[in-house]
């Protein structure tokens, strides 16, 4: 997708290129223009000038897409089932998929309810199912903080589901949860004052320390990929069997980057993963850490996102 659109009042300027498939994480503080970006792509904003090319074609003003608002919109005069069937009419997907999604997200009990009878989390799940039902090959999916009201278990299920769709659609995903963004997205757009001020592959972005992006690493253990913030990693000179910390991993210091009183240390774990640690200069000096030195990286299991 190639985006080059601007509006004058309020002032927005969005220019970027991303692949036509995959998940694009959209990050920025409140009021930076994240929701407006999604609205502009969806064609909801009239005052944008410019062009968006998607799948090698200019995007129409009223584009068919899976759009999920921050506060999900369900049609209030229809039951949950009627809301979902309405979407299904405009999709090639089957009722079978709908049943499957309803079970996966634990929504079977909600079918006969009216939207006004649902909690915020329930509304989000139904709107998410509707969004997924509309996804076909080459679809555009716009999700604005879609899982903010879900508990951790459901959120994980929803994120796993979303991950399955990234090969066949382009998904824009706005969230304030940076771990979610690091975990899920392929590319990251950083917005500030209505402009995209930084864009990169997410694996680079999490090491960039751009803006208020926290330094983090994505490492694999227990068969899953986890995000570990540099803030949560400590360094010791040897393994401590008396410690409650489960993850004590032999590593080599690859690089030390000292800024003011804080040092960023890039570690190479013995299993090949890279991990960043943040320690104070005092600790660096106390442990007398040097590049290429063998040390032990520690992080609590609970800090893995």
């Amino acid at each position: 997708m190639k985006v080059n659109i601007q509006s004058s009042q309020p002032k927005y300027d969005y220019r970027f290129n991303v692949d036509d498939r995959g998940i694009v994480g959209v990050y920025g503080i409140s009021g930076s223009g994240k929701s407006s970006l999604l609205d502009a792509i969806a064609g909801y904003q009239d005052d944008f000038k410019g062009i968006i090319t998607f799948n090698n074609k200019p995007l129409q003003r009223t584009v068919k897409c899976s759009y999920m608002n921050q506060h999900p919109i369900l049609f209030p005069h229809w039951t949950v089932a009627e809301n979902l069937y309405f979407a299904l009419k405009y999709s090639n997907n089957s009722v079978h998929l709908m049943d499957e999604l309803l079970s996966t997200l634990d929504c079977n009990e909600l079918l006969k309810q009216l939207p006004s009878q649902l909690s915020g989390g329930e509304k989000q799940r139904i709107a998410f199912i509707r969004a997924l039902l509309l996804i076909e090959d080459g679809s555009l999916v716009l999700l604005d903080e879609p899982f903010s009201a879900l508990d951790n278990t459901l959120r994980k299920t929803a994120l796993d589901l979303l991950n399955q769709y990234k090969r066949k659609s382009l998904i824009f995903f706005v969230t304030h949860d940076i771990a979610e963004l690091y975990q899920l997205s392929d590319n990251l757009l950083y917005l500030k004052d209505g402009k995209i001020t930084y864009q990169d592959k997410t694996e680079n972005a999490m090491h960039s320390q751009y803006g208020n992006l926290p330094l983090a690493s994505k490492i694999t253990f227990d068969g899953d990929k986890h995000i570990i913030y540099a803030d949560d990693v400590s360094i010791s000179l040897q393994i401590n069997p008396q410690s409650s910390i489960v993850h004590q991993i032999n590593s080599t210091i690859q690089q030390i980057d000292a800024k003011d009183d804080i040092c960023m240390i890039k570690l190479k774990l013995n299993n090949g993963n890279s991990l960043y640690a943040k320690i104070t200069k005092d600790s660096l000096n106390r442990l007398n850490l040097k590049e290429n030195q063998q040390i032990v990286a520690n992080f609590k299991a609970t800090s893995a996102k």
């Binding site: 969806a42 909801y44 009239d46 009223t62 584009v63 068919k64 897409c65 899976s66 759009y67 608002n69 919109i73 049609f75 209030p76 005069h77 309405f86 979407a87 405009y90 999709s91 509707r130 509309l134």
Partner: protein, 222 residues
Amino acid sequence: MLDLTSLWLSFKLASITTLILLIIGIPLAKWLAFSKHKTVPFIGSIVVLPLVLPPTVLGFYLLGIMRNDSWLGSLFIQLTDTQLIFSFTGLVIASVVYSLPFVVQPMIATFNGIGKDTINTARSIGASKSTIFWKIILPLSKKGIVSASILGFVHTLGEFGVVLMVGGNIPNQTRVVSIEIFNHVENLELQQANQLSLILLVLSFAVIFWMNTNNKNNLIVT
């Protein structure tokens, strides 16, 4: 014995006027609420005009449009062999114009109240404009449309100035209840005037009260 002919005539006038107002009011309100055409403020102002103009002024202009030597008046005579002015049909046309803002304004408010997000959501799903209107906007506006119709009906029941200007005072044809009450008062038949007035008062209050109890979020207070 109280003569209820005028009351019956008023009900007939109000019913036909409301029906016509529904037929033209819904598309007009939809256009005024959703269109971005540059003529929207102009047409919107014309629609609201009867709300602020003295009924006699409105009646005077309607008289000009409908009199026998006018374009509309002479066409009507050619087609029906009867004159438009001082006829029930003329009264219907005048009532439609007079009550138009009372029907269209609440409808616009209802349509606007649905919210852009709901309409955008339906659009992004792939629904056509007509599907969005028939399946989403209209069902969600049911209460507002009922309120608007009742308001139009009650307002037509009570009109006086416009009726007097274009309808005159012809029994069974244009002598509606408001005119009849005026006649009674003029002839010092205060008891009859009182009875008819009371019927109108109770009826109007009952309708508005019913509406307000059924539609607490959208009280009619103006």
